[in-house]
């Protein structure tokens, strides 16, 4: 699971970058210190031989003719003699790798050792310096009695050593970096794990499993404290929901018992032989009020339970078209009584939900469409599959809902037309909306006053 924005990967990235910088700095410094040390050693060797040569040139001590002959190079005659003691001679030669050359203001050196490279230009005029030519390191001095004295050697071996050192440093650095990244990743994972646990638990609580708590073993760490705070929040949430559940249960009892008293006594009164017409009318009115109160209480409690998430919903695979078809059959007599035509276009619209609750949605929408229609009007009901949802549309040719009232039709007790709603609780659409939303769907109302009013329900397929 790779999240470019996750804390985990950002931490890894920073950690890796810092490790690379630190290792790079150390490696670079170590390499350059070693390189400088090597060059100091090389330069010291060169300097020692240069001094010896200069001393030999200056003293010009007599040497045996044999020695002179041996040292004398072929070519132009020497302008000055250079006699080297055996110790000095031992400083140069094949075994040592050192060579020398001596110039007298001429293009070619007057003396040069046999192992000196063929291509050996005279250094430009400088007091004293070293120079690099390829893998050759040369130290020279412009000093009397000659013009320029140069001592050099190949440092290919040292350069190879340095390359090996660089490779070794890079290898070790890479290994340390890899180990560091793996170790860092492990640490980050360990540090992040409680966060994952917290978010999993919080997600469960959000989904309605209110009894879930985060397991807090380290109560003193930062995350432990966060977990404790979250746990107490969850506990309060749980308590609030439990209180709400208690309230609806208590309210159910407190509201229903008086209505039961009312209905029992009015029904007794209606059954009584000694009730006259006037009594009977009074009892009937009371009974109607009682029945209406009963429906109202049922609807309000149902709505309260939906809002508290206490209403259990089945999740069956069902077809909106079938539920709609069944309901059309049920309400047709009501529609016929008012001369209303029902046009049903039901293509399969499978969805997941509670068939009884969805049937309630259809009953509510259809009876609404009949109630608010004009006599002899029409109702159109359509089910279809649309964009991964099951879609239900119920339109009626009633007078419609004024635009100002449209956003409020799903509110409790809202009525578009107050004059004509005696038998209704005013909670039907609120319950319909609650059911649709509990299924994870959406419902909306559109109306063109005088033309038609349409309710559209979309449920996840």
């Amino acid at each position: 699971m790779f999240f470019p924005r996750s804390i985990r990967w950002r931490l890894q990235l920073w950690y890796g970058a810092l490790l690379v910088a630190a290792l790079g700095g150390f490696g670079f410094t170590a390499f350059h210190l070693e390189k400088a040390r090597q060059f100091r050693r090389i330069d010291a060797g060169l300097q020692e031989r240069l001094s010896a040569l200069v001393v030999a040139l200056r003293t010009g001590t007599r040497q045996s003719p044999a020695a002179e002959r041996r040292e004398r190079p072929p070519g132009p005659a020497p302008l000055t003699t250079l006699r080297l003691t055996p110790e000095q001679t031992a400083m140069f030669g094949e075994g040592t790798g050192y060579y020398f050359a001596v110039w007298m203001r001429e293009k070619d050196p007057i003396r040069r050792s046999e192992n000196a490279p063929a291509e050996l230009p005279r250094p430009a005029d400088q007091k004293s310096a070293v120079r690099m030519r390829g893998a050759l390191r040369e130290s020279f001095l412009f000093a009397a009695p000659v013009d320029c004295v140069l001592v050099g050697r190949s440092i290919a071996a040292e350069q190879a050593d340095l390359r090996t050192l660089a490779a070794a440093l890079a290898g070790v650095g890479g290994a340390v970096l890899a180990a560091g990244l793996i170790g860092g990743g492990w640490l980050v994972t360990r540090a992040i794990r409680p966060i994952d646990e917290i978010s999993t638990t919080a997600a469960k609580v959000a989904a309605g499993v209110l009894a879930q708590r985060i397991n807090t073993t380290e109560t003193d760490s930062e995350l432990g404290r966060l977990a404790s705070v979250l746990n107490s929040t969850f506990a309060r949430l749980d308590a609030a929901f439990a209180q709400q559940a208690h309230f609806t249960a208590d309210a159910a009892h407190e509201l229903r018992t008086p209505v039961a008293v009312l209905l029992t006594h009015t029904q007794n009164g209606l059954a009584s032989e000694c009730a006259n017409e006037e009594h009977r009318e009074a009892f009937e009115a009371s009974q109607r009020a009682g029945q209406r109160m009963r429906r109202l209480i049922d609807s309000l409690l149902e709505l309260a339970r939906f809002e508290a998430g206490q209403e259990p919903l089945r999740r069956d695979t069902c077809d909106l078209a079938k539920i709609a078809g069944d309901n059309v059959v049920l309400v047709r007599p009501l529609a016929d009584a008012r001369g209303i035509q029902i046009h049903a276009e039901l293509s399969p619209a499978p969805c997941h939900g509670d068939p009884e609750r969805l049937a309630q949605v259809l009953t509510n929408l259809l009876s609404n469409a009949i109630e608010y229609n004009q006599t002899g009007g029409a109702i159109r009901i359509v089910t279809e599959r649309a964009n991964g949802t099951a879609k239900l549309t119920v339109s009626n040719s009633g007078p419609g809902i004024p635009a100002a009232d449209l956003p409020r039709v799903f509110e409790r007790f809202h009525r578009a037309d107050r004059a004509r709603t005696a038998g209704h609780s005013g909670l039907g659409l609120a319950i319909t909306q609650a059911i649709v939303q509990a299924h994870g769907g959406s419902i909306e109302a559109r109306s063109e006053p005088g033309v038609q009013t349409t309710f559209t329900v979309a449920l996840p397929a």
Partner: protein
């Protein structure tokens, strides 16, 4: 038929008792769980109407304790209508369950049903020979002709018919026909039996001397 009605709301208790008495039942009442449990265990009722929310001892506890000794049919009344509550009620041994507020005719129909089931009668109309007894309509016909009975006479006949083939003792009849408040005269039963025989035929109700009465099935 004698019923026990356990309900803590006095107005509902009186209204229900009146409705049940009007329907021909002998009704005892109790205002809390303890009293209800005491009466339910000490008398053989034909059915008990039991509220769930009761002071002292709630309906569930009454039902559980009652079921230790008696299998009297029980109809629970409650204001809670969640299916979980209904399942709990039926699983605890209640025979039926009615949510408040209810319609009196529905309560009466459900009571008739649980009483009938307890007497192992599947059919709502009892037919014995040429006689049809309809407890719902409280009517009796003999060979197609309606017979007019008083409420008490009907109850005596209904009880004997529900227990036909058995000998029903006078004590049984007294216990099931009169509630706790009625000062019964010892010969009132003889009067009802005499009238029933006069209306339905003399051989219909057999006297088992020293035991009681019976209707042959």
């Amino acid at each position: 038929m004698r019923l026990l009605l356990v309900e803590d709301e006095p107005d509902l208790l009186s209204g229900l008792a009146r409705a049940l008495r009007k329907a021909g039942y002998a009704v005892d009442t109790a205002g809390d769980g303890e009293e209800g449990l005491f009466k339910a265990t000490s008398t053989d009722y034909d059915a008990i109407v039991l509220d769930v929310m009761l002071p002292k001892c709630d309906g569930w506890a009454v039902l559980t304790k009652l079921r230790e000794t008696k299998s009297t049919p029980v109809l629970m009344l409650t204001a809670r209508d969640r299916s979980a509550d209904r399942v709990r009620g039926l699983d605890s041994g209640a025979d039926d369950y009615l949510v408040k507020p209810f319609d009196v005719p529905e309560l009466l129909a459900r009571l008739r049903a649980i009483i009938r089931r307890a007497a192992q009668q599947a059919c709502s109309v009892i037919e014995i020979g040429a006689m049809r007894i309809d407890p719902a309509a409280r009517s009796v016909t003999l060979a197609g002709a309606a017979v007019t009975l008083t409420a008490r006479e009907f109850v005596v006949l209904e009880y004997l018919a529900l227990h036909r083939g058995e000998v029903v003792t006078r004590t049984d009849l007294y216990e099931h026909l009169f509630d706790e408040n009625e000062a019964t005269l010892s010969n009132i039963l003889d009067v009802h039996i005499f009238n029933l025989r006069k209306k339905l035929g003399h051989e219909f109700i057999v006297t088992r001397r020293g035991h009681g009465y019976s209707i042959e099935g």
